[in-house]
Symmetry: C2
Subunit: 233 residues, 2 copies
DNA sequence: TAGTGGTCTAGACCACGGG
DNA sequence: CCGTGGTCTAGACCACTAA
């Protein structure tokens, strides 16, 4: 356990791995601050700092006098507002089905080139998925990854993308930005969502970085506004 | 400087007041951690904790090797996503005009009663304002306060409500929740926003608490979707 | 009462920025 | 070089929870 990255970050990453690997299950208590302190031979302050990082990522929760626990419904892989759609919906007791519509290599837009810091001529992996809640099509999600993630094509993408990234790539979406605006259904979107063309929709765009602070993906979600409300904090 | 509230919170509140009172101006350097430590007779850790609170509120910014500075454009009175509309828009170089449409006492809904923990029979102060960006009506904002803020009626409400709360009441909006969804223009809304009835709009609802963790206000903003994009982080 | 997280201290050394 | 914030330690006491 030595590197140029701060001790508390190393410890945080260590715990993050263990939590995501399922070493501790939902709602389970992790060792106390004193125990972690002697386990890893670091001071209690360092342990506290590491834990505070994971708390801010919503991976852990503290309870004064009781202990520190793995966040119960494993929603929120990442900080404020960057819930995975899957977990977000599941936590409301709804049935979620995802169908992969189309996977292809595409030429990036200028905007995408900048975000991914792409060299000229490089393409992106584009994944289009349709999501149903209680059997109603509610969301068309288009995600773009660099070709480093080409092997995603062979995975089962009909669940949470973030779960696949976590389990198969050991990648954790951490930070990013999000914009929300209105749009109107195109012909294709109308057909997929089973609504009239021109119906107002919510358009949510995310730019997400991973736990190594590298660009991970861009995604665009088009959602039926009559069925969806976006909640923050 | 003694109470049951933690030292670092007392110090944070102290600094918050001084910053908002203009003791330090935009972009100005505040005393170093060592100086604050000896000024207030607390340890450097306590100073750091206090500062970290204000950094998370976007009131301060740190620069390694240089110092700690008051956030330059005094946008963001509050944490993630709770920008004041005024500052948010101004920071984009647009002209913002606000017109107060209607102020009245109203009977609270059940939802409002719960949020404000209102006794039976108590009313709320309702403030309706219309906001223009570059002379286009773009947002109808309805805010509710307890009658403790009745004197708001005598203030100039054609600017930032948060600025009035800060300067005249010494109240700082700190935390809260926000939901974003779609809605369609009612007759009144259509007239005010100069759009056809039934046009799709964004509806943003906020529930905000002040720096004493007391319910401060609820507000509902109805925004023209063709002119507005909501950005997070 | 024992064990947990919450606060606070005093002091050390490192890493960055600017003269 | 100096002064800044960043990391880290060791140890103290308090506040909360549960048996």
């Amino acid at each position: 356990m030595k590197a140029s990255t701060p001790l508390y970050n190393q410890l945080a990453e260590q715990l993050r791995q263990e939590i995501c690997a399922g070493k501790f299950s939902q709602g389970e208590k992790i060792p106390s601050e004193f125990e972690l302190s002697s386990l890893y031979n670091v001071s209690r302050s360092t342990v506290r700092k590491a834990i505070s990082v994971l708390v801010s990522e919503n991976l852990l929760e503290k309870a004064h006098g009781k202990g520190t626990f793995v966040s119960s419904p494993k929603i929120n892989q990442n900080s404020s507002g960057f819930l995975s759609f899957t977990e977000n919906v599941k936590s409301m007791g709804k049935t979620l089905i995802t169908k992969t519509i189309h996977i292809a290599h595409v030429v990036p837009t200028d905007h995408q080139k900048r975000f991914f810091k792409l060299d000229e001529g490089k393409e992106l992996l584009q994944i289009e998925r349709l999501r149903y809640i209680d059997n109603n099509p509610i969301c068309i999600e288009t995600s773009w990854f660099t070709t480093a993630y080409d092997s995603l094509q062979k995975k089962n993408l009909n669940g949470s993308l973030y779960a696949v990234l976590r389990n198969d790539y050991n990648i954790h979406p951490l930070t990013g930005s999000k914009t929300i605006e209105l749009c109107y259904a195109s012909l294709d979107e109308a057909a997929l969502l089973d609504i009239p063309r021109g119906t107002a929709l919510m358009l949510i765009e995310d730019q997400v970085y991973d736990n190594y602070e590298k660009p991970l993906h861009i995604s665009k979600q088009v959602l039926r506004g009559d069925k969806f409300r976006y909640a923050l904090k």
